[in-house]
Each structure stands twice: as structure tokens, then as C-alpha cells.
């Protein structure tokens, strides 16, 4: 190959630099470069040839004079920087920063040029000798000779802090200049920025905000203070974005948060007349939202708000459920609970960004105070009753759903769900039997909700009631199609056959029905027992109603809607003009408390007094006499005579219901104990109580004392035994 032969002809000196013999070569070359650096710093570079300078530096490095070149550069640059520092120091007042900035720009430009011409050194000499590259060297020299010069360092810092203070107090400063200077500090490395500016800046800021917050808190109300704090915070964030290092943002906001919020947190929250509680009371969503977003920034901030809210909520809730005024009207009572819930839902939604922990706090507070009043289950059921009787007339389906959902929400808070069930059953029975329910759909919808909430078991009896209503209708149709023709014009009987157990029936004395009615009833009984063998029918006369057509003395005719008891009483007057209390009692055999109540509503209610009592008085006495009120008049043809029923349960009734609930709980507790012991075989007392409580939680809160009694009863009946060694352990006996 040709190339191999030609190679021999190559000469090493192909590149045409002179072989260095001149001992002054290095000195001479350096002089040229040194001169060039001077010219560059003096803004005189336009005459210089880049190529020549580059070539000289190149050759110096190539001929092993790199060290000389480098140290020469250091000393020349140092010299110029010291000169610059002197000029900067000499600058008066406000021009100081400007001068510094100008010199910095100059130096940067010069440095760029010097680096370009010394590029070959940067590329080869510096990496191999581990020296600082030219650009970094230039920055370091600037830092050491200018920024850290004794006359500049403090002055610079003070000037910067002074300007920031002036800006904080509302003056307009030259932000561009600030930005350049801060940028310079950042270019010199993070440590310079931090040590020479950021650290003192944060300290001074802390002092500033400490003093300012102290002043604000003395003279502002909570809302105003928060507004000011928020504004300060935003100002600092904006300042960082305008001319500080972005990394400083979290640090300075921390300072503001700590000084303005964290240190005054409790005082703010509890501030008289304007603190958190007042904001909650007055629905100040903006202020609350501000408080939330500010407090969220500091540790313990949100828990503080939450705790105060919870305490306040429990306090007001407690007042609400124990307010004797409210207790008079269950509907009002429940409505105000709902209002309270709505109010706080809104606060949490609008101001606390739907924070889950706040919602939980709200729920637990409600759970706490609703259960403070043992009558809450009854009242909630009464509320539903009221709504389903009349409250929902003309309300759209969606609204019905909303109301029912709200009720369910309250229901969820109840610990004694079984008590609710008891009352609900009673109220539902009344609604169904009197045909008063507004909407079957709404009834069923609520039952479905209860079912999803508490399971099939909870609602099976309620559903049984609906089924009974339906079958009774069919039975009645069957009865009339069989007997219709032979019954003729007599009274019409509607019977609802209720399954014992599903309905809250009380064993009651059947009263004496008027002759025409009892005959009809007998017919029905034989019809029903004819189709359903092996059943027993007993009449619940205390639960029925009747429509009567009555003609009074002056010929005025009315249709009276009365209870079965009232019907029995009134029918007596078909055959007598005046009757004594005793006579009525004997003829009807209505229990005396019921009879009194029924006579009260017939004779003493204004506008509905179809009977007249002698002597006139407010109460029914044993020797009263009753006559038909001939002067009775009403603008309506139909007159509904309600029994004077206590809407709310009276004290003894309440006791009774409570007792029945307690009775019902016993088998449930026992069943739970047996279930648990069957799977565990051996368990100690405390664990049994814990597990039983847990199992029954969805229905009621089991009382440990009661559980203990049940355990004892189970031991007596030999379901369990105590461990012979450890008396606290129980053993399941299969």
C-alpha cells in the first residue's frame, strides 16, 4: 500500500510553529495575553484578534507553560477585580447597588471573552491538573475580592434587607436591580446566596413579622388579622417569584406561617367576639375558608380548628337536645337537628374544602349529642311520621327522597336503633291503620333505606305490616262478594287482619260493640275462619276508626269521623237522651283511661263537641252526665273528631316502651354471647363484653352490666361455665 511507504516522509514539524528555543518565549506570549486581558477589562477589545490570542494561549499550553498562563490569569483578574471593588466601595448611597450591578455585568462579559480565548486551556490543561475552570475561577475571584471584601459584604446585605423592608412597608423599589443582584449571589453558588443573603433575610423577616403580628393581634379582630396574614403571605410568595431564588419560597413562607399563624393560633381561634366560634355561628364562609387555608400550613393548625369546632358543636348540640322548649315539639326538635347538620355541612363544603377529617368530626359530634337525649329515636320516628302524614303533600318525589335521606343520616347517628325501630313500628301501624299515609312509595322507599342500613332482620316485621294491609284488602273483597247481597243497608265493616308479632299490638280488652256491629263482626269471623283454619281472631277495638252519619236536634246532618271507642259511646245515644259516666262505662266496657280520653274529645273540644257534659268543667269525673249537644254546628259536613292522643309519649308510656325495649334486648344479647362462645369456646370476660358490644353496635349500645347479667343467666342455664382455674374465663358447653 502506498500510504505505508509515504509515511516515512512525514515530518513531525508539519504544523508550522517554531520550535521553542527562545527562553523569553513564554514571557513574551504571556505579555500579549496579559495585555489583551487588560484591554478586555477596559472595554477595548475590538482591536484584538481572537485567533492570535487563542493561538498564543494554545501554544503556551502546548509548550507546557499552562501553569504560568493560569497563575498569570489569576493575578491579572484579581488585580482588575480589586480595582472594581474600589469603585464600588466609592459609590454613594443608592448608586451602590447599581454600580455593583454594572461592574458585575462588565466582569461577566470580560470573563466570557477570557474564557473563550483560553478555551484550549480549559479543555486540556485544567482537567489534567484538576484546577478550577476559567468561568468558575472568575466567579470565585469575584466572590472573594468583591462580594466578600470587608467594605462591601455588610453594606450589600444591609442594603438588600433595607430595600426589602421598604418594600414591605409599601414603598416601590427597583425590583429589576434586586433581581440582578440576587441572581448574582445565586450565580456565585448556593452557599453564597444562603450565607450572604438568605439566612440573614429569614432572620430579619422573622423579627419583622413577630413584631407586626404582635401589633395586629392587639388591635384587629380575628377576621381582619387573617386577611392581613394572608396578604403578607402572598406578598412574600410574590417577592420570591419576582426576585428571589424559588427555593426560598418554602423557607420564607415558613417564617411567616410560624410568626403570624402558629404562634398566635390559639389566641386567634379563641378571640372574643370574632374567633372561630363566632365565625361558625355567623356562617362567615370567607373567613373560615381563610382560616382553614392558613392554618393548614402549620402543624397542629387543622386539629386546632377541628377541636374547637367539635367542642362548639357538642356544646350547642347538647343545648339543642336538652332544650325543654324544643322537647315539646318533636318535629321542631328534629328539624333543628337537621338545620344544624345542614349548616355545618355547608361550612365544611364551602370553607373547609370538604375535608374528610372535618366531616368525621361533625359526624362524631352529632353521634355524641343526639344520643345524649334518650328520646331522640322516638322524636326522629315522630318526625318521619309527621312528614309521611301530611308534610309531604304536594312535594316532588326528589324532595321526598332528600328528606328521607336526611332522616336516615340522623338515624345512622343513633346508638339505640332498636328503640327507633320500636317507635317506628308503632307510628307506622297507626299510619297504615288509619290510612293516613301520604305516599306508599315514600313509605316503602324509607323501608328500603332502613334495610340497606341495618339488614333484612331489621325491617322484616315492617314489611310484614305492609303485606298484612294488602291481604286484608283481598280478604275484605272476598267477604263482600260472598255476603254482600244479604248484608243490605247495614253498616259497612272493614277489617284489617294483623299478624301477631309484626304489629305493635297490646293485649287489650275488647269493648262491647253496638249490636248491629257485633253481628257483622261475627259474620266476618266465621267467614275468615272458614277460609283459614287453625287461626284465632281477636278484635283490637282500640285501634279502629268509624264513620257515622248523625242528625242533630235542628236537623243539621254531619258525617262524623271517630275512633271505634267513640263510635261505641255515640251509638249509645241512639237509645238514650242522657247517660251518666258509669252507665257508659258499664255499657261499653271501655278501659277507664281510654274512656275518659274519648269522652274528653267528644265533649270538651271546642267546635267538635257533639256531646254536652253536665256540670261543665275541664275534666271528666265519675258522676258526670252526658247529653247530645243539639246546638252542635260546623261549617263542614264531615267532622273529624280526633282522640286526645298524646303525640309524644307520656312519661309512663315512655317507661313502658323502654322496658319493652330492654326486654327485647335480652335475647339478642344472649344470642350474641352464644354465637361468640360457640366459635371461641373459651374467652375471658372483657373480651366477651367487647365482642358483644361490637356485634350489637348496629342495633344498640349494649350495657356491660346487662351483658354480665346475661352471662350469668346463661351459666345458670348451663350454656356456659366458669373456668375452674381462672374465674374470669368462660367456657362454652356444647
Amino acid at each position: 500500500m502506498n500510504s505505508n511507504q509515504k509515511k516515512r516522509n512525514f515530518q513531525i514539524e508539519a504544523f508550522k510553529h517554531k520550535v521553542v528555543v527562545d527562553p523569553k518565549y513564554a514571557e513574551k506570549t504571556w505579555k500579549i495575553l496579559e495585555h489583551a486581558i487588560h484591554e478586555i477589562y477596559n472595554h477595548n477589545a475590538s482591536g484584538l484578534s481572537f485567533e492570535e490570542l487563542y493561538r498564543n494561549a494554545y501554544n503556551m499550553v502546548l509548550h507546557k507553560f499552562g501553569e504560568k498562563l493560569y497563575s498569570g490569569l489569576v493575578s491579572t483578574m484579581t488585580f482588575h477585580l480589586q480595582e472594581m471593588a474600589k469603585t464600588i466601595e466609592a459609590a454613594q448611597g443608592g448608586s451602590f447597588l447599581e454600580e455593583l450591578n454594572r461592574k458585575w455585568t462588565d466582569h461577566n462579559k470580560a470573563l466570557q471573552m477570557i474564557r473563550d480565548i483560553l478555551m484550549y486551556m480549559d479543555r486540556t490543561f485544567i482537567p489534567s491538573t484538576h484546577k478550577t475552570p476559567v468561568h468558575e475561577l472568575g466567579l470565585n475571584l469575584w466572590r472573594d475580592n468583591v462580594i466578600h471584601s470587608s467594605k462591601i459584604q455588610m453594606r450589600l446585605l444591609n442594603t438588600l434587607l433595607e430595600l426589602i423592608l421598604r418594600e414591605r412597608t409599601g414603598e416601590v423599589i427597583n425590583r429589576g436591580l434586586m433581581r440582578n443582584i440576587i441572581k448574582m449571589l445565586m450565580d456565585l453558588g448556593p452557599s453564597v446566596y444562603q450565607e450572604d443573603f438568605e439566612k440573614p433575610f429569614l432572620e430579619v423577616s422573622a423579627d419583622f413579622y413577630r413584631a407586626e403580628s404582635q401589633e395586629f393581634i392587639e388591635c384587629c379582630d380575628c377576621g381582619d388579622y387573617l386577611k392581613k396574614a394572608e396578604r403578607r403571605l402572598n406578598e412574600e410568595i410574590e417577592r420570591v417569584s419576582q426576585y428571589l431564588d424559588t427555593k426560598s419560597e418554602s423557607k420564607i413562607t415558613n417564617v411567616v406561617e410560624k410568626e403570624m399563624i402558629a404562634s398566635h393560633m390559639l389566641r386567634l381561634v379563641h378571640m372574643e367576639n370574632s374567633g372561630l366560634v363566632n365565625m361558625l355561628i355567623d356562617d362567615k364562609y370567607d373567613d373560615l375558608g381563610r382560616m382553614y387555608s392558613l392554618f393548614r400550613r402549620v402543624p397542629e393548625g387543622l386539629p386546632t380548628i377541628r377541636d374547637v369546632m367539635t367542642t362548639h358543636l357538642r356544646e350547642t348540640g347538647k343545648q339543642l337536645v336538652t332544650d325543654p322548649e324544643k322537647l315539646k315539639d318533636p318535629v321542631e326538635f328534629v328539624q333543628s337537628l337537621l338545620n344544624e347538620k345542614d349548616k355545618y355541612d355547608k361550612v365544611i363544603n364551602k370553607a373547609f374544602s370538604n375535608d374528610k377529617t372535618f366531616q368525621n368530626a361533625l359526624n362524631s359530634s352529632f353521634e355524641y349529642f343526639i344520643n345524649l337525649n334518650p328520646r331522640s329515636p322516638e322524636f326522629i320516628s315522630l318526625f318521619v311520621d309527621e312528614k309521611l302524614r301530611k308534610g309531604l303533600k304536594g312535594v316532588s318525589e326528589e324532595d321526598v327522597e332528600t328528606i328521607l335521606d336526611k332522616v336516615m343520616m340522623l338515624f345512622r347517628y343513633l346508638q339505640e336503633k332498636d328503640v327507633f325501630e320500636k317507635y317506628y313500628k308503632q307510628h307506622l301501624a297507626k299510619r297504615l291503620l288509619s290510612g293516613k299515609t301520604v305516599s306508599d312509595d315514600a313509605e316503602r322507599s324509607l323501608i328500603v333505606k332502613l334495610k340497606t342500613e341495618c339488614g333484612y332482620q331489621f325491617t322484616s316485621k315492617l314489611e310484614g305490616m305492609f303485606t298484612d294491609m294488602k291481604t286484608s284488602q283481598d280478604t275484605m273483597q272476598g267477604f263482600y262478594s260472598n255476603y254482600g247481597p244479604e248484608l243490605g243497608d247495614g253498616p259497612t265493616l272493614v277489617v284489617q287482619v294483623l299478624t301477631t308479632g309484626s304489629w305493635p299490638t297490646q293485649p287489650s280488652v275488647t269493648c262491647n260493640l253496638p249490636a248491629e256491629m257485633s253481628a257483622l263482626c261475627e259474620k266476618f269471623r266465621s267467614y275468615y275462619l272458614g277460609t283459614h283454619t287453625g287461626r284465632r281472631l281477636s278484635w283490637q277495638t282500640n285501634m279502629g276508626t268509624a264513620d257515622l252519619k248523625a242528625t242533630f236536634g235542628k236537623g243539621q246532618k254531619h258525617e262524623l269521623n271517630v275512633s271505634t271507642y267513640q263510635m261505641c259511646v255515640l251509638m249509645l245515644f241512639n237509645n238514650a237522651d242522657r247517660l251518666r259516666y258509669k252507665e257508659i262505662e258499664q255499657a261499653t266496657e271501655i278501659p277507664s283511661s281510654d274512656l275518659r280520653r274519648c269522652l274528653q274529645s267528644l265533649a270538651l273540644v271546642k267546635g267538635k263537641n257533639v256531646l254536652r257534659k253536665e256540670p261543665m268543667s275541664k275534666d271528666i269525673a265519675e258522676d258526670d252526665t252526658f247529653v247530645v249537644n243539639d246546638k252542635f254546628s260546623s261549617k263542614f259536613y264531615k267532622v273529624k273528631i280526633g282522640t286526645v292522643v298524646a303525640q309524644k309519649e307520656s312519661e309512663p308510656e315512655k317507661q313502658e316502651t323502654r322496658q319493652r325495649v330492654e326486654e327485647d334486648r335480652k335475647p339478642q344479647i344472649e344470642a350474641a354471647i352464644v354465637r361468640i362462645m360457640k366459635s371461641r369456646r373459651v374467652l375471658d370476660h372483657n373480651n366477651i363484653i367487647a365482642e358483644v358490644t361490637k356485634q350489637l353496635q348496629s342495633r344498640f349500645l349494649a350495657n356491660p352490666g346487662e351483658i354480665k347479667k346475661r352471662i350469668e343467666s346463661l351459666i345458670e342455664r348451663e350454656f356456659l361455665e366458669r373456668d375452674s382455674a381462672d374465674r374470669k374465663m368462660y367456657r362454652y358447653l356444647a
Binding site: 509515504k6 484584538l48 481572537f50 493561538r55
Partner: protein
């Protein structure tokens, strides 16, 4: 190459004149010249060096032959991926870069120029 400058009528700012040791002038696109890191610095350095102002650079240590080769390389490099530079360097070392002359994308270097060319490349940081 010199004659090209007249025909192409490029804008003066987009061109740069490179002058060899013997005084030969090569007028080429700045874009091409900037393949050399050194020339790039010369033309873009913030200070107004003579080179930046006049749009010409003199290389007293580079001969015409080499400078011409260099200019060719600039254009070649601009056109083909930098990947090939390595290939070339390998070829220069082995000394038989014409072996693959079949490939059109290859940059042909006469063996007798290699050493000088390498030194110039070092200087120009190409």
C-alpha cells in the same frame, strides 16, 4: 471555493472568510465554519474581537491545502451525522481510509495529510 462566493451572492453576515498561512481566502457559510468549536467561539464571543467585526479569520499556522480540506470537512460534517466523525478518526489511525471508497458518505482524506489535519483539528476543536 473562492470563486463560489461571487456566484452564490449570500448575505455577507452569513458568510465568513478563512485565510490560510499563504494568504488564500476561503469564503464559507458561517454555519459550516461553526462546526469548529474554536471558530464558533471567535464569532460569537460577547466582546467585539476583530474577527467578529470583519467576518474574517486568519490562520497563520494552517496551510492552504489543509484549510481547504478542513472547509470541505465542515460542509461534509454539516451534511452527515456526527456519527461518521468517529469512523473517520478510526480510519485515519489505521491509515487506509480509502478502503471503503464505495460509500458516498465517506469523507476522503489523503494519507499524507492526516497528521497535519489532526493537529489542525485539535487546534480548531473540531
Amino acid at each position: 471555493m473562492e470563486s463560489d462566493s461571487g456566484k452564490l451572492k449570500m448575505k455577507k453576515e452569513d458568510m465568513v472568510k478563512l485565510i490560510s498561512a499563504e494568504g488564500f481566502e476561503f469564503v464559507i457559510d458561517k454555519k459550516a465554519a461553526m462546526v469548529s468549536q474554536t471558530i464558533r467561539n471567535m464569532l460569537t464571543s460577547p466582546g467585539s474581537f476583530a474577527e467578529t467585526e470583519h467576518g474574517e479569520v486568519t490562520f497563520p499556522e494552517i496551510s492552504t491545502t489543509i484549510l481547504e480540506k478542513i472547509c470541505q470537512y465542515f460542509y461534509w460534517s454539516l451534511q452527515y451525522a456526527s456519527f461518521y466523525i468517529e469512523v473517520i478518526l478510526v480510519h485515519i489511525y489505521i491509515g487506509h481510509c480509502s478502503a471503503h471508497s464505495g460509500k458516498e458518505t465517506e469523507f476522503h482524506i489523503e494519507p499524507e495529510l492526516t497528521l497535519e489535519l489532526m493537529m489542525a483539528a485539535n487546534y480548531l476543536h473540531t
